[in-house]
Amino acid sequence: MSQDTSPTGASGATGVKRREFLKVLGASSAALAVTACQEETGKLIPYLVSPDETVPGVSTYYATTCRECAAACGIIAETRDGRAIKLEGNPEHPLNRGALCARGQSALQGLYNPDRLRTPLVKENGAWKAITWDDAIARLSQQIGQARSRGAAGGAVFINQHESGSFPRFLDTWLAGFGMPPHLSVDAEAHAATLEANRRTYGVAWPTLSFSDARLIVSFGADFLESWGASVPQQLDFADARAKLDGAPRFVYIGARRSLTGLNADAWLACKPGSELAIANALAGKGSIQQAATESGVDAAALQQLASELSAAKPALVLSGVNGANALDVALAVAAINQASGAVGTTIRPAEPITAFDGIATTGQLLAAVERMRAGQVGIAFVRGANPAYTLPKSAKFADAFAKVGYRVSFTSYPDETTELCDLVIPDLHSLESWGDAAPVRGTIGLQQPTMDPVYPTLSKTLPAALGTADVLIQAAKKDPASAARYPEQDYRTWLMAGFAGGPRGFAAALPKGIAPGNLAPRTAVAAPTVAARAAAAGTGPFTLYAYTSPVLGDGRGANKPWLQELPDPVTKVCWTSWVEIHPETAQRLGIARGDILEVKTDSGTLRAPAFPFLGIHKDAIAIPTGQGHRASAQIATFDWKAHKPGDLQWGYGRYARDLSINVLDLLPVATDAAGGAVLTSTRASITNTGDNMVLPSTEGSARQHGRGIAQAVNAADLNKPPKEEEHLPGDASHAFLPGLRSPVAADAQGDFGAPSDANIGKNKGLYDPNDIRGMAKRRWAMTIDLARCTGCSACVTACYAENNIPTVGAFWQNATIWADQKPGLNIARGREMNWIRLERYFEGNLDGKFGVDFETRFVPMLCQHCGNAPCEPVCPVYATYHSPDGLNVQVYNRCVGTRYCSNNCPYKVRYFNWFGYGESDRKQYAFPEPLDWQLNPDVTVRGKGVMEKCSFCVQRIREAENRAALEHRELKPDEFTTACAQACPSRAIVWGDAADPNWTVAQRAQDKRGYHVFEELNTFTAVVYLKKVNHPATGAQAPAAD
């Protein structure tokens, strides 16, 4: 170019010679090239000895057992290069049949929790000191020896988190060897009244419940989809029942609070807290309907209708999960109804018991042990996994009693409240690192095997690298001359396999399936001391305080896992905090708005938490979930991501749980029902509006659909009516599954944007040609979601987090740097949540200021709809989002420059933006502090700051399956693989696959007459077909309009 026509004019005008310019340019580029071109590639560190059965970069799968709750579902752990990266249900397991709940998925974040204790600890003069494993075992055996020589062994207490299997028997034998009494197997989530009533009525702790055989389901506060019993198998069966559509059982929920289970019911009888017994008696014919109506505040006509329905529907299934002072009475009354109606043997099957709940000690028994501690009768106490300092009401003064124990040992891996009170801490292995077994159902043994080497090995020259509590107990026994002979086995694994019916060989043979037929030897019968009910004065106040077990955090043990903290509660859609549910009418009367900080006062304590007006709570009650409010007893500075060093002790259950909101148990008196269960719903409370307010961290945009038809429903009676003229089947329209109608990239590839002179313009469609040899356009990946099955449990959400490396963004240090606000969940409150699939929850009915009980709830899993005619695609200035030939709406992270136009234009609002560097380890917003990052899926890119992301239909699984098929020289088989959400779904509501191939299930489901596309009127031609929910209104009654 000549100097005169230079476009900048700069070089010509100033007369800098071309050669000078090039010199300067050359020097600066050379300097930059050193940094830019010498890319840091890192090292390739090979194995020393390559392990058998593994190929680098290819997953290995291990069948094992989930220990996140007592049910002990079977899981398959996917491991890559020696690290567990994903958990899925074991399809062969009789309990969960391949499904897995959100809490089960989150076991990985327990395994890789950054605040897990790494070494044994000892408390000396009030300060914690890390010690070696050899030292810890020496101290343990010394303390046991001292306790025995002082004669204190007989008064020892061992509190173990309940688990079924051989370990309880092993532990009792070990304790007996030192002259110690059997251990207490506690589970704060267990429902003691139901267990006791089952034992008395059916002779087993938990019979199999058959929802699909029932003609009518009635639940007295039994939250069988969340915290009552084994939720995954119950949910599978309930969904199967609902999938019968017009033949499905009607479901009536009775209780003061409409839980997630209650929201799935067709009708809710909102009774006064504590009045369930009157209704149960009336239904059993032992009391008059009129009296029950007066006592419970429920409309007599509704009760009469239920009574007649119950007598007509055979078999029915009536359940009780009441947590009030009269819980056992209700449970027994309900059992009597079932016996009278002939449900035993059909919908209730004592012959096929679930054995996972056998042998759970009640809260009453635990409290008796605490009283013995307080009286100074306990010389040595052990705790493993359980956290009584948190799960017992504060009024039980556990810490004071525990302080009177001579020596306290904790076998817990997490810095929880009880462990902080101990003298010696010997961390346990995680269940994914250790051997074990479980007794889920009669006739089946669940096997547990390590899926990887321990995250924190013992690093001892004399001890094995993997040392679980059972191994430590064996080591301690070996140090004792009197006990050594009883433990010839070197570790628990050897002991376990030797005791297995088929011996070590049989055990190894059964491991690939994770289950074996047979029954484990029962724990030596423990003469359970019957503990009398402990009554407590209800106190005063206008409201009944209704404490309930959180479906997400459980009894609080889920609180240290960011996936669960970030998972919105299925009912309220609130996360990272507790809340106080209050009826909207009461709230209106008292001038309380959503987010107002209420002071809740009972005779036992006072707490502050934000208000959440909720239609599903009785007007005379307020409800608070359990799970939050973990506190350290020592003074601990607020978590500082920068000053924090790996291994720093984070008392108060870790950085993700500490000091978040409140623990509702602090408001309760010490009270147990006749079965020994904790009384949670019989305390009176008063509330005061403090005048403070907070924005609740919630993913709920609107609780109403405003006529948008996102979640549609149909009455069972209307199912078989002929369709109206204008109606069509969504999967039937051939155009609806055509990919890439308007995507510029697709259009370009189709030849539409070619040079006008090109003879082939518009003809060469490249990969988009269905006859193209590469076969991409042959497929149309699609999904159906059956709303008749979906219960809103949100297992799919956590499964998606695990599969797709989705960051959690709600921890308080993850907020903005400038004007930093240390509020947990602030990013969520600002609408910056990252859940690729979210559970929308809409209320129907009860409009216009009426606050009745007659409302319906619809749950809709909402994810990228992979529109054939996607609004996001034409607005992207850099073609970072486009339509692939196989029907995916693709997001290319490395193209994205973060304009967010796509998100703005998305009618479904399913695109999520990386406002901060959640995936960058040097930023304070980093979501995966080591070792949480060990879990990251190597097949999925970790997104950086400023990048848009969204559901990819698990494209990495598609490519993996295609690679596998190509390797085996075959085509993909129908239903060969599926997405993470569909795989986890405990309702089997989600079906995914190739809609263009009629052999895939999804292609058949898409033709269902209940099918519809969300926002079909926008001509987006989505790849997700929803199947309408089916309502079952009472005969003669009219359900809310189905729109």
Binding site: S28, L32, V49, G57
Partner: protein, 229 residues
């Protein structure tokens, strides 16, 4: 035109040049092509491949099964080198000599003498990585190997490299040109250095299936989401 005015343009030009270089670096147009880092052990590919005739997959044994080709475990090296130590007797491969590289290997393997086996303080060899695509690219070795793409097509004739260097640019345009235009088995075979007209090894050339050398170009998918997810 004054001298002062003349030099005021320099900072502006500098900024422009810097911007251009940064943009080009960010765009991925730069590459570590030809980079040839010093390795902890100067592993002689020519000896193992050309003299001994070992297959690439003997050591990189996951390349046809996995996304990741895999680096040989130290025990794989010591499978042979347990008996082939640093002090080499005279054989048909050469005269008696001492190998400093094998001495390094014995140090990593913590092996005292020939035949003694690996010691307890063995350490993996920290090879310096040469070929790397960014994290947002998923490159399945298995698909390429199993369709018959020769290793040398992308990695160059490693069997002749005294020190391995990055042969191809590994830029996206380089990937796409092959995916769009198609891979020619004939050219691939030629690139491998074992094509009939180029190689001295008649046995290798004769074992290559005739169809490979004559088949048409194999076109591959070039959709973004094939590699970027």
């Amino acid at each position: 035109m004054t001298k002062r005015r003349k030099w005021t343009a320099i900072p502006g030009l500098l900024a422009l040049a810097t911007g251009a270089v940064i943009l080009s670096a960010y765009s991925g147009a730069s590459s570590s092509q030809h980079s040839s880092p010093v390795q902890p052990i100067n592993f002689p590919h020519p000896v193992h491949v050309q003299k001994l005739g070992m297959n690439c997959l003997y050591c990189h044994n996951a390349a046809n099964k996995s996304m990741d080709p895999g680096m040989p475990a130290v025990s794989t090296c010591m499978g042979c080198h347990n008996l082939i130590g640093p002090d080499r007797p005279a054989t048909d491969l050469g005269p008696k000599r001492h190998s400093t590289e094998l001495a390094k290997l014995y140090k990593y393997a913590d092996q005292a003498a020939v035949g003694a086996g690996m010691g307890p303080n063995a350490k993996p060899i920290p090879w310096v990585r040469i070929h790397k695509v960014p994290e947002y690219v998923h490159f399945p070795h298995t698909r390429h190997i199993n369709i018959g793409v020769t290793c040398q097509t992308c990695h160059g004739q490693v069997q002749k490299m005294d020190r391995v260097y990055q042969y191809a640019s590994l830029n996206m345009g380089w990937c796409i040109s092959c995916h769009v235009n198609g891979y020619s088995p004939k050219e691939g075979l030629e690139a491998s250095g074992y094509a009939p007209q180029q190689t001295a090894s008649a046995t290798l050339a004769s074992t290559a299936p005739a169809t490979l050398a004559t088949a048409e170009r194999k076109k591959a998918r070039y959709d973004c989401a094939n590699c970027h997810y």
